[in-house]
């Protein structure tokens, strides 16, 4: 199966990327003057966030393709990337609040980006709630595709609205504006690493979803 090959390739790629990423973050990147070492959570937080955004983009595209082609495979792809999106956005929220604690000694900051992730998290948990509530496979796929599209289109609007609403973050977090060149390179590297991790997770889960599908079909053959 071609997905197996992709999974193995990505696996070996990650064997190289992840240690390198750790080395860069903890050894190469300079310590931030104001926040000290804890600022290094920033690399992790932002790269997971990009992974989550990639996953939700995946849901958006697969949902459109499902509505276009009506092939169940796209629905499986959408549902898989939604699952990974929820996993990653949960981690973004956790790392976000762990980072906020030492820096602003508050567990939750109403920062526009964090707020957007929280709202996205709600929508895609709702995505799975909806899926579990509908029996017919085709109708379930069709309705969740609608949520997959609306959820994604909501991101810019919520970002825009919350950015106006309030932002207590210092300038530093204006998407890496305050980072010096070395930090920016390390940031870029860890974002790419996490993008590869997200793709690896996707194919890994996608393979499992396809086998689950085959099990369903075989179980039915057993009954006839």
């Amino acid at each position: 199966m071609k997905t197996n090959r992709v999974i193995t390739i990505l696996f070996f790629l990650l064997l190289v990327l992840i240690p390198l990423d750790f080395f860069l973050i903890f050894k190469v990147a300079p310590t931030e003057k104001v926040m000290g070492d804890v600022q290094r959570i920033f690399y992790l937080h932002v790269s997971i966030a990009s992974g989550a955004l990639l996953a939700f983009t995946g849901v958006f595209l697969s949902s459109i393709l499902f509505l276009w082609t009506k092939k169940i495979a796209w629905d499986i792809a959408a549902c898989t990337s939604a699952e990974i999106g929820v996993l990653l956005s949960t981690l973004v929220l956790i790392t976000g609040s762990i980072w906020a604690r030492p820096v602003w000694n508050v567990w939750w900051t109403w920062d526009p980006r964090l707020l957007t992730t929280l709202i996205l998290w709600f929508i895609y948990v709702g995505y799975f709630l909806l899926r579990s509530g509908i029996a017919d496979k085709f109708r379930k796929a069709q309705y969740s595709a609608v949520i997959g599209i609306i959820g994604f289109i909501d991101i810019p609007i919520v970002r825009y609205a919350t950015k106006w609403w309030k932002s207590i973050h210092p300038l530093l977090t204006q998407n890496g504006g305050g980072l010096n060149p070395v930090m920016k390179k390390v940031m870029l590297f860890s974002i790419t690493t996490f993008v590869v991790i997200t793709i690896f997770l996707f194919f890994f889960r996608f393979r499992l979803a396809r086998i689950e599908e085959r099990l369903q079909i075989l179980k039915k053959k057993m009954e006839d």
């Binding site: 996993l87 956790i94 997770l201 099990l215 057993m222």
Partner: protein
């Protein structure tokens, strides 16, 4: 230095989360593959 705990905590939680997700998937995968094998076997002797 107290901040170090937050740094360490964030990284462990993140990587723990990802690897735990992978662990569940592999376990589910093995379970399903076994059941697939049983069903295919019983389908064969049914024919």
């Amino acid at each position: 230095m107290e901040n170090w705990v937050y740094l360490f905590g964030a990284y462990t939680i993140a990587w723990l989360g990802v690897s735990f997700y992978l662990y569940i998937n592999t376990k589910k995968q093995k379970g399903i593959e076994k059941r697939l094998a049983d069903i295919e076997a019983s389908l064969k002797d049914k024919k």
